[in-house]
């Protein structure tokens, strides 16, 4: 029975990783409904804690060569965990909800970087033995490094550090050459490991070159893509990181990494496809086509005129309606008007008005971000409706209130075949009996096209900052001094 004792650390790690893999799957499963979702992330968190604590048991199994440094290395692990985890935790707790996409991009880049760094340790230490292990390490390193540098560019774009997409002639060819160069260096590394006589460039130098190429590829891949498409790009990199983690998990013979990585890889791919579908674009179209810049499209003449209206009057009109559907867009979040919006909605509800929120799949900077922003303001999620559930209800609604949204309510997507957004699913706000559009000015949306909805017979424009407009609406309705009905 005593013979089992040396195996206990291995048994502990195995059991902990098995538990972690199960808890991740179960946690993600629980995230599929808003009711169980908070417990879902908690379950997955326990899985993570168990796996990380158990990984200290690796200290019992290190090789003879690593024994002298073991205490230092354990110390380094603790310091790295504290610094990395502490900073990121603080950042995640304090970041504004509107800056969430950037934050996810950074965390994702970190994951990719970690996978790349693990691969680097394996490569420099010559630990990946056998052709399969070496190739898998290199592929994981490539994907991880691309995810790291690409995510950082995505962060810079979303945060406004890089303002304009960088495009030059022959960019696709240039990127293709970087990819080929990376693969060539990778191929050389494999060949040189197998046959020492092929060695022309020292191993460490080639490894550095390999990572430099991979990082450059991530940068140049992401630079030409416009800021509006960044969410799809982050989702792709999220899947990439998952894949890289899964592959490095294979190299390290750790099934928990393999399973978690591949689950995220597949989930990320599906999520990317869903997002692209909501924008009516293919994924390759997002990555390889320059959107929003090429405006050769000539707009047909739009009949009608823009009819300005006072915020107070619009607010009072809605107070006397029986039903209102609100279409929030990113402009609302920019003005930080969610809280005021919900205050206004509660006033309407007190007066017996039926109020619903219609959220477009790509409202905000990231699919589903608008839902989060509304939730942050306290809007219950059973008042929030998705496109397919609410689109038929506009025609039987008294007022549609469009706040800070533009392209997602442009009827040209239904009717105008030449429009760049033709075919994109939109919210049929124009079908409501009356439409109020709250907008800062007469500017255009992301797609850079004029919105026919604004010129419609049934549409009035309320100009101003969303928050300021809502405050006026609230004051006007309060000024009526009507008693609450409900």
């Amino acid at each position: 029975m005593l013979s089992i004792i040396p195996m206990l650390p291995q048994l502990g790690i195995g059991a902990a990783d098995l538990a972690a893999a199960f808890l991740f799957l179960y946690g993600l499963h629980r995230m599929s409904s808003p009711v169980t979702a908070p417990s879902g992330i908690f379950v997955a968190g326990i899985g993570m804690a168990v796996a990380v604590l158990a990984s200290f048991l690796y200290a019992f199994g290190v090789s003879q060569a690593a024994q002298p440094d073991l205490m230092i290395n354990i110390g380094l692990v603790i310091v790295a965990l504290a610094i990395g985890g502490g900073t990121a935790w603080w950042g995640g707790r304090t970041v504004a909800m509107t800056a969430m996409p950037q934050m996810v991009a950074i965390y994702n880049g970190m994951g990719g970087g970690a996978a790349g760094a693990i691969a680097a340790v394996e490569l420099f230490g010559g630990k990946a033995d056998g052709m399969t292990a070496l190739i898998v390490t290199l592929v994981g390193a490539l994907i991880g490094a691309v995810s790291l540098s690409g995510s950082l560019i995505a962060w810079a774009k979303l945060d406004g550090v890089i303002k304009k997409p960088l495009r030059f002639k022959g960019q696709q060819v240039f990127n293709g050459i970087i990819l080929l160069a990376t693969l060539a260096v990778g191929g050389y590394l494999v060949a040189a490991t197998q046959d020492k006589s092929l060695l022309v460039l020292a191993m460490p130098a080639s490894i550095y070159l390999f990572f430099a190429c991979a990082l450059a590829l991530g940068i140049f891949m992401t630079l030409p893509i416009g800021g509006a498409d960044m969410p799809v790009v982050i989702s792709i990199f999220n899947a990439f990181t998952g894949l890289a983690v899964g592959l490095e998990g294979f190299v390290l013979q750790n099934p928990a990494l393999m399973i978690a990585g591949m689950v995220v890889g597949a989930a990320g791919m599906l999520l990317t496809l869903l997002m692209a579908k909501a924008m009516n674009r293919s994924v390759s179209n997002v990555v390889f086509t320059n959107f929003g810049e090429v405006s050769k499209y000539k707009q047909g003449n739009i009949k009608g005129s823009l009819k300005p209206m006072q915020a107070g009057d619009a607010g009072i009109a809605m107070r006397y309606a029986s039903s209102v559907i609100i279409v929030p867009g990113y402009g609302l979040a920019v003005a930080q008007g969610q809280g005021k919006l919900y205050e206004f909605v509660k006033l309407l509800q007190a007066g017996g008005v039926s109020v619903k929120f219609a959220v477009h799949p790509v409202a905000g900077r990231m699919p589903g971000q608008m839902d989060v922003l509304l939730a942050e303001a306290g809007v219950p999620y059973d008042m929030i409706f998705q496109l397919e559930d609410i689109n038929d209800q506009f025609s039987s609604t008294d007022f549609a209130l469009v706040i800070g949204a533009n392209d997602v309510v442009n009827p040209a997507a239904r009717s105008d075949k030449t429009s760049p957004i033709f075919g994109m699913p939109i919210l049929n706000a124009d079908k409501a009996k009356k439409v109020f559009v709250v907008k800062r000015g007469e500017g255009k949306g992301y797609a850079g096209i004029v919105n026919a909805l604004f010129y419609g017979e049934n549409c009035d424009m309320v100009y101003g900052d969303a928050q300021a407009v809502l405050i006026k609406m609230i004051e006007a309705v309060r000024g009526l001094g009507l008693p609450a009905v409900a």
Binding site: M7, Q10, H29, S32, P34, V35, A37, P38, I41, F42, A44, G45, V52, S55, D69, I72, L76, V79, A80, L81, I83, G84, G86, A88, G92, M100, V104, Y107, M110, G111, G113, A114, A117, I118, V121, G125, S235, T241, G242, V245, L252, Q253, L257, I259, G261, M262, V263, V264, G265, A266, A267, M269, L271, V359, M366, G368, V372, P380, Y381, Q386
Partner: protein
Amino acid sequence: MDFQISISGFVALYVFMLAGFAGWVIIGRVPAILHTPLMSGSNFVHGIVVVGGIYALLNAITLQEQVIGFFAVLLGAGNAAGGYAVTDRMLAMFKTSEHAPAHRKSGSVKSIHAKK
């Protein structure tokens, strides 16, 4: 008895295939309203890479390996901790309305969350 894990060749491909399928199916059921928390949630899950980083750093021999391994753990820990922090923060905000028909147990979301 031997607890050493050895996954090679087709066994690895089976693990990848089943895990990939599981991820696809689980995510396919998530409503659009949860897409953002889900993206950061799955982002959190690949933070498990920190375990690989710890393994690499504990087995580091040269200074170079220690430096790179240190960064692997640092970045992995950031991925995991940050991913959890933002996901948990977002999900805690989702609640149902009290005045809505009582087909959902309102408040249950909060009580589960209060554990933390």
